[in-house]
Structures are given as C-alpha cells and as structure tokens.
Subunit: 122 residues, 2 copies
Amino acid sequence: MYTIGEVAKLVGVSTHTLRYYEKENIILPDRNEHGERKYTESHLQWLKFVLKLKETQMPITKIKEYAYLYSEGEHTAINRLKLLEDHKSSIETQLKTLEETNNMLEHKITSYKEKILKRKEN
Amino acid sequence: MYTIGEVAKLVGVSTHTLRYYEKENIILPDRNEHGERKYTESHLQWLKFVLKLKETQMPITKIKEYAYLYSEGEHTAINRLKLLEDHKSSIETQLKTLEETNNMLEHKITSYKEKILKRKEN
DNA sequence: ATAGTGGTTTGAGTAAACTCTAAGTCAAAT
DNA sequence: ATTTGACTTAGAGTTTACTCAAACCACTAT
C-alpha cells in the first residue's frame, strides 16, 4: 500500500496529477481511516499502463473512456479491444512519422556538420 | 505562389493556424499589392519541415527558436545543429516508448481476442 | 448592384491537461 | 506544546496551441 506521495515519486508524476486523475475517474485508490488515499500494487500497475497510453499520445478523454469500460465489467471487452486496436494503429502512424523525421534530421545534421567544418577550414 | 487558403489545403492546417504561425514569427510569407499573404515554394517547404517537427512533439517555442536562429544567419549554425541533435534524441526516446507500448498492446489485444472467443464458445 | 467567396486585422475565447492556492486535519519529532 | 511534514478539499489559475468573432476590403458571378 502506497501513499499518494510515494506513488508520485515511483511513477514520476505530481500528487496534483494523481488527484486530477482521480477526479477524472481514471484511477480510484482506496482510503484509510483518515480519508487518505492508499494505492495498491494493482493501482500502481494500472497507473503505469495509463501513463504509457498518455506518453503515446492517447488523450485523457480516451483514457477515461477505457477506464470507464473497464469498470463496467466483462461485457465491455469488445469495446475495449476496439479502443486498443485503434490506439495501436495510431502508434503505428506515429512510428512512421518519427522514423521519417529521424531520417530527415539525420541528413540535416550531417549537412550542418559539414557546413560548420568547412567554415572552420578558413 | 500560393494564397493562404491554398497552403492551408495543401498542408492540412487551417488558415487560422497559418496566421498564428506568422504572429509567432515561424513563417513569414510575402504580401501582394492588396496586402494578402503569398507563400512561395520555399515557404511551403519550410512549413512542411515545421509540421514534421510539430508532429514529432517539438513545442512551438522550440520551433520559434529554430526559426529565429535561422533568420539570424550563418553564424547560428552551431546552435541550430545542437537544437536538431537534441530533437533527434527526443525522437529516439519516443521511438522506444512507442515500440514498447506497441508490444504491450499487441499482447493485450491477443488476450482480449482470446477472452472474447472463449466467451462466444458458450 | 448585390451576394458570395476569400482575403485582412485585433483581440477575445476555448480545450486539454495540469498546477496551484487557501484553509484545514493529523501524527511524529523537538 | 508547537513545529514540521504529509495528507485533505474545493475551486481558481496557467500554459499551449490554437480557434473564433467582428468588422472590414476586393474581386467575381448573377
């Protein structure tokens, strides 16, 4: 069981963000006798998954949608599958763009280096 | 020479966005006798480059910085090189995250499919 | 000649995702 | 006993990157 501060440190987000995610029904930790948030190992796993989705540009609204479907139980599995498949295809698009741009930068960088070298030769 | 509307269509952004980029000194087209913006082929190339940077998560402030350096001439080449190298390394980080997440989704998706299949067998 | 289309400006408004503030509770340490 | 530090809440404020509104101008088509 982790406090909000521990979780924040562990995953690298602020406590503000964790409370915000809770307000948005993305992650709903338990509470102790003082009303303080308590995150279990499985909350932590879920949070890490959420952060991966976020890092790969899934908007919070979509993440909320997925969280909602999950909370609704087994019969939403098809919807969740669809959502993940859509995101996977978005990731593949992003991979293409990044690879293209990476190549472009590779070229630009080499030509910049040549230009600077030639300038130094004078 | 392209009008703002033509450029917008060609690259897939709104005219609003193009005017916004101009206000931010990212792309400064010519003007005709009526004060209307005229984009040359090289403005278009620059814009496409800018959009690639944006699609690969470079923030507008960094893009502005690059545009500013470019406008300052040859002696800023080293700074531009540095900026592009930094961005390239950001792209490589993104590629890693995307690939990892893609694999994770691959697994999740197959297990969802199995789960749904098994349910249908009943 | 008037309606439509596409351009202009300044400045305000919006959406997303936090991020911070104020005012408070609680438990441990000095 | 009081300070410190970590937690609580509701609600306001911020940043980024647009996006829209209002009021205007110029050309074309009916």
